[in-house]
Each structure stands twice: as C-alpha cells, then as structure tokens.
C-alpha cells in the first residue's frame, strides 16, 4: 500500500513539474511584467535597472527556481486586472465551478448507471434502443449548443402557433409544445449561503438551485451519453464472460448475477474512466460558464485570456493542473482499494 502510494505521488509530482515548466514558459514568453508595471514613460536606463532588480536578467533556471519556489508557497503572482494575488482570485471563483461540477456529476451518476445497466441487460428492448438513440444524438451536440437550446426553451420561452387556435386539439397542441421560459440563465442568483472562507453556496436556497439547474443540466448532457454507452458496453462484455455463465450454471437468481457479479466488474473500468472524465468536465465548464455567465474559474479564465491577464492564466493552469493530478491520483487509489486484483504494490497481480 505504501509503495503504491509513494509511486503514485511521485508520478503526480512529476506531472506537476511538467505543468509548472509549461506555465513558467508561458509566463516567460508572453508576460512582460515591466510593461505592466511601469508603462511607456520610463527611460531605457531605468528599465535595465528594473530588469536587474526583478531578476529578469538571471538565467532561465534561476528564474524557474524562483517561480517554482514561490508557487509552492502559494504565491502565483498578482493579477493585472484584479490587482490581487491570483490565488485569491481563483479561490473566489472556485466554489462556483465546484458546485456546478458536483451537481452535474450527481446527475450523471444517478442516471447513467441504471440506464446503462438496463440497456445492457435488455439490449433488444424498445426503451434501450430509445436510450441508445438519444445518447448517440446527445454525443453529437456540442455542450454550448445544448446550453443555448436550454436557454431558448426554458429561459426565453417558445410560443408555438403551428396549429389552428380555433380548434380544441390545435389549442392543446400549441399549448403543449410551447414553453413558458422564465428559468434563470444568468449567474448564480442573489440568495447564496456563506459556508466558509470564500465558499458561498447555492445549494441551500430555491433561488440558488434554480440558477444551478440549467448550467448543470447542460454540463451533464455532454458526459451522460458517454457514460451510458461506456457502462452499457462494459456490462455487455462482462455478461459474455465465463464467470457470468458459471454463475448461471450455479442456479443463481438473475438479480444477483446482474447487480452483484456483473455490475461490480463493470464499475471497475468505469471508475477509472470516470475519474478522467471528471477532469475533462473541468474543461467543459469553460464553455458552460461562458454561456450562462456563471462566475466560476472557467469564465474567469476566458476573461483572463481576452484581457491578456498572463499571471491569472498561468495561475489557472497550475491550479487546474493540480486538481487534475489530485483527482487522477485519488481515482487510482480508489481503484486499487475496490479492485482485489490490484495488490496496491503498483502492479497488477
């Protein structure tokens, strides 16, 4: 167990090192701190002196060491735009993104497992084919388009008048196909609960949850089809295996075969992929947050790009990189704990 842990943490640190090198080279290549600090009005001689003072004439290695040393202490520079330490800016925005990801993950978990399992057990059922069809279409819709359609339908509203309004059925059809709109589609609302530090939560008020609904649904919509397909495919493969046939030969009830023997084996690869997908979801928050003006780190990052706020871009990379690395390591550890065939010595038995 300890060896496994040490190996995984070693790997994680290596990845973080690579990320920090990339982040540093972006800062080094793009950011001219002098320009930002003093503008045009300073003489050339003063510039040279300032460069020396700031250590910008030191060798790359020394500069990187300084950058990394500060980063480890939590100093990732100061945002040009906010004029605050970048880490503080990120911490202010992070809870919004985390809540979005948590809400979407819950939706995915509670929907994908039952649907995927059902579609695997009854591949010929009408409902399974419907689910698979919907998820094929779902995979083909970009997340921002789902978000826009959701806004059009539930926030702006759609009035349908294709059917004659003077007949009963026409009126009914028009009414049934029209939507009222009115769902919030902008920001997090004004009823947030302070939990601790910079964490203001929208989970505890109706207003907050309503604001969360559309962004979370659109974020979930991109991953849900993937998970349904993945769970179905894994489960169908497991159902073909010898040990399932053996379980049948033992005369076990189908419920036990499906939900213990098969599901437990299905979920092992799903956990691994799920961890990776969780990381990928962070990338999609950039799109979702842009559409819904959700004040999380994704929107903050995009704004930093348009404002050329290099320190904030670099800090975002480092923080998101850290989040990815931590999730992947934790997922690996969980996988090792759940799967009896991994002996937590770092290699498969």
């Amino acid at each position: 167990m300890l060896a496994f842990l040490v190996q995984r943490i070693g790997q994680a640190m290596l990845v973080m090192f690579v990320i920090s090198v990339i982040a540093f080279s972006i800062q080094d290549g793009l950011g001219d701190p002098l320009q930002q600090m003093v503008g045009q009005s300073v003489s050339a001689a003063e510039r040279v002196k300032l460069r020396d003072d700031l250590g910008l004439n030191d060798s790359i290695v020394v500069q990187y060491a300084r950058f990394a040393g500060k980063a480890v202490q939590g100093d990732l520079g100061t945002s040009y735009f906010y004029g605050e330490p970048t880490l503080d800016v990120i911490m202010e925005h992070l809870p919004a993104t985390l809540e979005l990801v948590i809400a979407a993950s819950l939706m995915i978990a509670f929907l994908s497992v039952p649907i995927g399992v059902y579609a695997a057990i009854k591949p010929r059922a009408w409902l399974s084919k419907f689910f698979m069809g919907v998820s094929t279409v779902g995979i083909s819709i970009p997340v921002f388009l789902t978000a826009i359609v959701l806004i059009q339908l539930f926030s702006i509203g759609v009035t349908v008048d294709w059917f004659p309004d003077d007949t009963g059925w026409g009126q009914w059809l028009n009414g049934a196909l029209s939507t009222n709109g009115g769902m919030p589609s902008y920001g997090r609302g004004d009823d947030l609960t302070h939990l601790f530090g910079t964490w203001y939560s929208g989970f505890f008020s109706e207003n907050g949850l309503l604001h969360l609904l559309l962004p979370a649904v659109s974020l979930a919509s991109i991953m849900l089809p993937l998970f349904i397909r993945l769970i179905r495919a894994e489960m169908m493969e497991v159902l073909q295996s010898d040990y399932i046939r053996y379980a049948q030969a033992k005369g076990l009830a189908p419920r036990r075969i499906h939900f213990l023997h098969a599901l437990k084996n299905t979920m092992l690869p799903v956990i691994t992929v799920g961890g990776v997908q969780l990381g990928i979801m962070v990338a999609y928050t950039i799109l979702t947050e842009t559409v819904f003006q959700w004040p999380g780190v994704g929107l903050m990052f995009l704004e930093a790009i348009t404002r050329s706020d290099i320190p904030l871009i670099v800090a975002y990379l480092m923080v998101v990189g850290l989040v990815f690395v931590i999730t992947n390591t934790v997922v690996d550890l969980i996988y090792g704990l759940v799967n009896p065939t991994v002996k937590l010595t770092g290699k498969k038995a």
Binding site: Q240, Y243, R245, Y246, Q248, A249, R256, N339, T341
Partner: protein, 332 residues
C-alpha cells in the same frame, strides 16, 4: 429409466442469412453414477452439447429441437425459473478454465455460500461450514484461509479444486465437466482428474466428461461418444470402441495417440481439418477427410448401424456388416 436422456437434440445459432447447425440430432443417455466420455476435436460441438443440457447456450444459440429428459422432465421445454432450481443443485458444471470461471471480484467464500443459499434455506454461518467441509474434501491446503481469499490469490490447481468443491456443494445427481484439466499445468492435470473421479464415486454422482483427450476418456469412462461436426458418429462401451473402433474418424483419433505410434516414427495424423459450421459438406460430414469416401458418402448422410454394442454412423461400416450377414446366410 436413465437419469438423463437426450433425444435428437438440435442446437442452432441464429446468424445473418440463416441458422448454423451446431448440434445435429444427437442422442445419448446417462445412468446414475455412470461415467460418460464425450470426445472430439475442437469445433465438434462438445461444449455446445454440454451447455445445452442445462439450457445455457448463449445467444444467438438456441435449442431448435429434441428433448433433454432429466428424471423424466424435459429441460429443453422448462421455464427459466424451473431450470434455475436444477442448475447447480441437481446438475452441476465444471468449466474449462478455472482462471475465468470464478468471479475475480468476489471472495471464494461468497461464491460458495451464494450457491448454497440459492437452493437451500440456510444461514450464512451454516453455509460457510458446509463450504469449509467441501474445501477440506478437495484437499485444498489451509482451507479456512481460502474462504476469505479472492480467486487471483489462488493457483490454477487450487481454483479448479474450489470449482470441484462448488460442484459437489449441493450433492448433485450429475456433474458435467467441460475439459476440466486442459487449462492446468500438465503436472497437476492427473491429480485433479483423480480427485474428481474419486469424489464422484464417493458421492455416487454421474459424470459427463467432455474432452479432446482420447487417452483420458479411455481410462476414465465406462461409455463414450465421439462427436464430429455436430454429430455423434460413434457411441458405445469405451473398451469396445478403443479396442476395435469402427468409424474411420475414431480409428484415426486412436492411431493419432502417441502411445500408438512407434518410437522414432512420425505420429499418425488425420489429413485435413474439422469443417466450420457454415460449410459442413453434404452427405457424411467426414467424407472430405475419409480415405474410404465414395460418391454415396458425399451425397447421403449415414444412419446409425449397430456393430456389437456400438452405434456407428458410417456407410462403409454398414456395407461391411451387410456383407458379413450375407456371408453368414450363404454358409449356415
């Protein structure tokens, strides 16, 4: 009445563009405590036959005709719910590869206890006691420890012992063993086979042993079936068949045994290979590989003829028997 009687069993695989006939009208019976061997090359339909007895053939396979009478009840026409009561309880199975048979994420104990609980009203504690007792019977080292171990912590031989223990768990009438030792190390194959035979005898369980190894069948079984391309081409008492095989295919199999060859000479080999299901030749399925094949063999599927206590499906053998009869009639 035989314990198990299979009559004219037909098994097909529904694929695009028609059905593939995997088993074509096989019949045999198994008595209480008897040991029956089922031999053939891979692809002959042995495993399909074994699985179809418990109606466990995976889609797209299905039983297209015939009866499987177990104590007089037809398993082929039974509901899934009723079949479940027989599977594992009255008829147990041993699969080929012990590495793939046990569920990798459940402990040995769980997989033994669940089998008992599926068929008996029994507490977990009592079920564990019975499981432990069976593990002792299959002579597994430190059996107490094994219950809480996962399959991958056991060697291949130990896993097959566990599987034999599970097969015996509910005192079945029949054990169907599909190549139970093929996947094991050569050194322990004999050991496991001896254990299986000893326990079957001890518990008076009928054993249906499926194997490609004619040598094992000749030592173990009282009666044997030889399968080729989904058909039984010869069946009868093992001794009679081994000593005087009638069908050219069975003769070829026996001549191919290493102990039949002379030292320093090449082993005999039947020319050609088993046809795949979608291109089984007309007439006798063995005709393209048979040195005696004539036009009749290529057109008409041979019926069974009896020679001694052996049933054979071969035109050549039928013709020989006919000739002998005529000779006997001419000189009484």
């Amino acid at each position: 009445m035989a314990l198990l009687e299979v009559k004219n069993l037909d098994v097909r695989f529904a694929v695009r563009g028609g059905d593939l006939k995997a088993i074509r009208g096989i019949s045999f019976s198994l008595d209480k405590g008897e040991r029956l061997g089922l031999v053939g090359e891979s692809g002959a339909g042995k495993s399909v036959a074994a699985f179809s007895i418990l109606n466990l053939i995976a889609r797209p396979g299905y039983i297209a005709g015939g009866e499987i009478l177990f104590e007089g009840r037809n398993l082929a026409a039974m509901s899934e719910r009723e079949l479940r009561k027989i599977r594992g309880d009255r008829i147990a199975m041993i699969f080929q590869d012990p590495m793939m048979t046990l569920n990798p994420v459940l402990t040995v104990g769980t997989q033994m206890v669940e089998a008992l609980k599926a068929h008996r009203r029994i507490s977990t504690a009592n079920a564990r006691k019975i499981a432990l007792e069976r593990l002792k019977q299959v002579q597994i080292p430190s059996p107490e420890k094994r219950l809480d171990q996962y399959p991958h912590e056991l060697s291949g031989g130990m896993r097959q012992r566990v599987i034999i223990a599970i097969a015996l768990l509910l005192d079945p009438e029949i054990i169907i063993a599909d190549e139970p030792t093929t996947a094991l190390d050569v050194t322990i194959q004999a050991e496991i086979m001896a254990l299986l035979l000893e326990l079957c005898e001890q518990h008076n369980v009928a054993l249906m042993l499926i194997t490609h190894d004619l040598g094992v069948v000749s030592q173990v079984s009282q009666r044997m079936l030889v399968m080729y391309a989904g058909r039984v081409i010869e069946q009868g008492p093992t001794k009679e068949i081994i000593n005087d095989a009638q069908h050219p295919y069975t003769q070829g199999l026996i001549n191919a045994l290493p102990q039949m060859g002379e030292p320093g000479r090449r082993l005999f080999q039947i020319p050609g290979s088993m046809p795949s299901l979608n291109r089984i030749p007309t007439g006798c399925p063995f005709n393209p590989r048979c040195q005696f094949a004539n036009d009749h063999c290529r057109e008409v599927m041979p019926e069974y003829v009896r020679s001694g206590n052996v049933d054979v499906a071969c035109h050549e053998v039928a013709a020989l028997i006919e000739k002998e009869k005529q000779l006997q009639e001419e000189q009484p």
